[in-house]
Symmetry: D2
Subunit: 337 residues, 4 copies
């Protein structure tokens, strides 16, 4: 941590900052420039809030030096984490394809879609039972019934299931039915949920909040890791920007950046990342070309009658083309689907 | 809802859209322009997702006509809602001042701050017992102990208490100690929490998410209102933008815009809205000048030793100046503190 | 400037960074922490680009310590700059009101509006002759004819004129007719224009770019100041954010922040800052409450027939109410209109 | 254009809107819903500003139906535009690689880099002679001398030259030396520059503003096209968002979206799009995978001593790897480098 003093900071103000540094058990390192004095804080700064110093008289601002995450960092875990889930490995050489409907709507809809995505090459089945919806008047998901249908699809098609859990009190229930617990974008900083997930041993697919920085995503992962669960996958799903022509802006930079900063696997969600089915396949190709370890895609046999997210769902035939495209891109970057 | 067809949409595609409109129980209204056909959907569009039509062949885009919220709207409730809390009225002529520490840290800290803010003119005491923190390594609040201290401060200083509740399972506990239940910005779309709050009769202070639109804020209020609780206050607390010189960008436009769109009271939080104590007072003045019904401010007797949010906390003397400033501004706009 | 080395930076990499620091004529200041080495660069860092060091092997990132602006900074010019224009002082105790139509459309329109805003209390007349328009098919302004009409209005109503100049080659022409040269938001980083304005002695009203930081605004001012023109006024006119309910988001925080960082006067533009006439007056009040030195407002006698910006223009009667409101707020903060 | 009337709009207000529609030479199409009346405006709405109606009494908002661009639109020009430049075709099956230094710094630097990028497979040489710089204290480019060196490099290495032109009065000068005229991001809405470029016949590389929507980019292209120059290439170079871990956020969605909306070629700039050399190659791969017609990349033989943009410049060996990567991705999507 580096503390930048104001232009006109007095010697007494500087001394008080140094005293505070010592009081917290750190060493100081003073550097007097022509226009400013800056003071280094030597030690593991992670537990201290920069505001602790910002409020002191004479301080202009405080700059963190270390990333605030540790367990998620490549500095402390240089090799890639490979997460094994029912015989599938995420984060290794294979590119993983997760697909299925946004919401589980009925047995028929789920089974038909599961059969189609399996046939096209998907290895994990997605589907929502508990749905976060912006409007209280919209379809909220089938709940427990949806979980039971997902388990049935798992048994029939032998695909691991990924589904969202929305509240800490539901973690143990959802964990009975799902193979991967998904944290939705709006819950990325639901800290009681993250805490509860840290205490299971189920793999977690942690979606980036639509308003969250890469650093905040890694801090959310740190919550889960620090409570004991090491099986965390990150998911880039688009961020909110000023551009309104697409539902979100898929942050392609985040893929290679995350691979540099962390050892955790990175999955791309081009369905939410674009919000328009016509853009899903090119952005899926881009994500794999940029180094993503897999994709998660919404597929619906009859999107016009989907109860949610129809506009970004692919029909099975389009999805099969997407998988073929991805396969060629994966080869071009030395991987395989 | 207006459906805009593609340039080259066929008659059959148009017919299928119209058929779908009828199937949903709506009437259509077709308008053929030179370059595009557009189709109006006549009826209460709120329960339908625009995506339902976006996915149909030949459709370019779908435009909502009605605001998706109803109970929160001034259209359906033209006069201001005035919320009574222990003898205080929020949303009427009086400008409300809520103040206190970010976190409850100890009895001494809380009582000292409560005495100071009461003396300066605050009418509601704020303080956090459950704290959402970005880092798992940071202070997470005193929990139940904090609630007990808040109640003690209530009894001593006769001020209603506002404090955050972070999860649906904590609502009934927090409601035993607090007079106003606060929803934090990161939880604005925690739908299970909103649902639970809708089933209490406690007043709710709903903070705008840091990357939520005004419409999404009103939809979050709609969740609470539609589940039966009409005592909702909205809070503008700054949004996330590209500007990094301040912690957030206080959206001053949102104050008069909300007063126009909704009957619910609007509170301003200049502490989070700026993140810098030197900017809190001018932005508080601005919020009242723009028509806010009150402010919520972080005050700490020793901000340098605050366990959270020190940089944006005012010392009691500065807070007393703020209240004086606000009083003059309130008079200038025909109100009173 | 502080250079943060990577976790695993070698001694040789550190030595090369230090050698580069010396080669540029600076002194180094090395600090070895537990996890990172950081190296301070001692001297006036303004002329060096941080990228100069970021590219060196072993460097993780580079943090600026000094603000990159100097002439615009309060550190070097602590007292407020007060700019005199034809007997009016901007930046002193008086709050300045600039008003007029978005575009000059005709003699009748301009004279009628000038009379009305003068009557209501405005002291400077605004009006666009050269108009930047997003669409090549929209009205582009009257050009020279517009300038002549503005001069005529000046002579008739004895109000200084502010009007936009869009290109460096037009500066001398516009300067013959106008008293204040306005730089539009889209030209804030048109460096050849800024350079040319630095070589005149006419006052400049520099609008913040719609996606420019406060620091970039001050750097744009620095361009003008460093080429010799000290008469620069800054203008906050709203920034682009994710919120679409208003045309822009007026950054109220920027007002007190600018007053803290710079000695230059700060004007608020609530017309562009909101884009909706119904929000202009409350946001104008807010800006003055926050410490702005003046406002610039679009007024049109017949906004429905304005050739540009009708939706954010006030009719004269509404503008007169605005001036009354502003007068009361100015008094409440110890100033006058 | 669709005009949405307020909830409580009167018959007279509706009649006045209709009268105004007729006065402008359009037909109306009225639709009375349960809660709102909406009025369609039939005709080519492009020349009218929505604000023209927004300001009328009783109007809630106005929704555009048609895209405001026409010449740039695929609706009016369905097949891809292929732009021929000295024997190279941009927008056809071949993926174009433009590369070179950010700034021309010296003959030696330019010739060395030109030789290296040619050897690695680049077909167009980039280099800045006039440089837009945020700071007045930074290197501003060699100007005319830089143009002469670029021409010399052209003659020696037989590569077309792309370089930035910053002001309308420089267009004819730069056109004497360059084969492609680049409009920088900060000048995307410098309308006098766009106008001047529309009157040349030189190919233009139009960079998206860092704060501009895809629609605004297409409107900027429309300026050039509508003034007579049809040889426009668009360039996605990253937008400004809340994320600060990268210099910009490369908007990968914009690539397939632009290919859908327009017939003009689309080039990707992963150097500015990321701002970090370590991310340039993966994002270049992604852009080609998403359908870009080419890339433009900054290459420097000694980035640590670059006078600008060092941090995002690739050394020649890394650039050669990038070209190899791109070649494989191009094949995977059925194209070639």
């Amino acid at each position: 941590m580096v503390i930048v003093m104001k232009h006109n900071a007095t010697k007494q103000e500087i001394d008080e900052v140094v005293a505070e540094i010592h009081a917290l058990g750190f060493k100081d390192h003073l550097s007097s420039g022509e226009e400013r004095t800056i003071i280094g804080v030597i030690g593991d700064e992670r537990p201290i809030d920069p505001e602790h110093f910002e409020i002191l008289d004479g301080v202009e601002r405080v700059v963190r030096i270390l990333h605030p995450f540790k367990l998620a960092s490549r500095d402390f875990h240089p090799e890639d984490s490979v997460i094994k889930i029912n015989g599938i490995s995420v984060g290794g050489n294979q590119v993983i394809v997760m697909a299925g409907p946004c919401s589980v709507e009925s047995r028929e809809q789920l089974m038909e879609t599961a059969a189609a995505v399996k046939e096209a090459g998907a290895t994990v089945l997605r589907g929502g039972a508990f749905k976060p919806r912006t409007s209280p008047y919209a379809f909220q998901g089938l709940g427990l019934k949806g979980l039971e249908l997902l388990r049935e699809a798992h048994d029939t098609y032998r695909m691991p299931i990924v589904t969202e859990v929305m509240a800490s009190q539901d973690v143990s229930l959802v964990a009975q039915y799902a193979d991967i617990l998904q944290v939705g974008a709006r819950n990325m900083q639901n800290f009681s949920l993250l805490h509860a997930l840290g205490e299971t041993q189920k793999p977690v697919l942690l979606k980036r909040g639509l308003m969250s920085t890469v650093e905040e995503l890694l801090m959310a992962a740190e919550y889960i890791l620090s409570h004991g669960n090491q099986r965390v996958m990150l998911c880039e799903r688009g961020i909110r920007t000023f551009e309104t022509a697409t539902r979100n802006t898929f942050d392609i930079n985040a893929i290679p950046l995350l691979k540099q900063l962390t050892h955790l696997p990175v999955i791309a969600d081009p369905s939410h990342g674009t919000g328009k089915w016509e853009l899903v396949t090119p952005v899926a190709r881009a994500a794999i070309a940029a180094g993503a370890d897999g994709i998660i895609v919404e597929v619906h046999c009859n999107p016009a009658h989907a109860l949610s997210d129809g506009a970004q769902s692919l029909k099975p035939a389009k999805f099969a083309e997407l998988v073929n495209d991805i396969r060629r891109i994966a080869q071009a970057v030395g991987r395989m689907v």
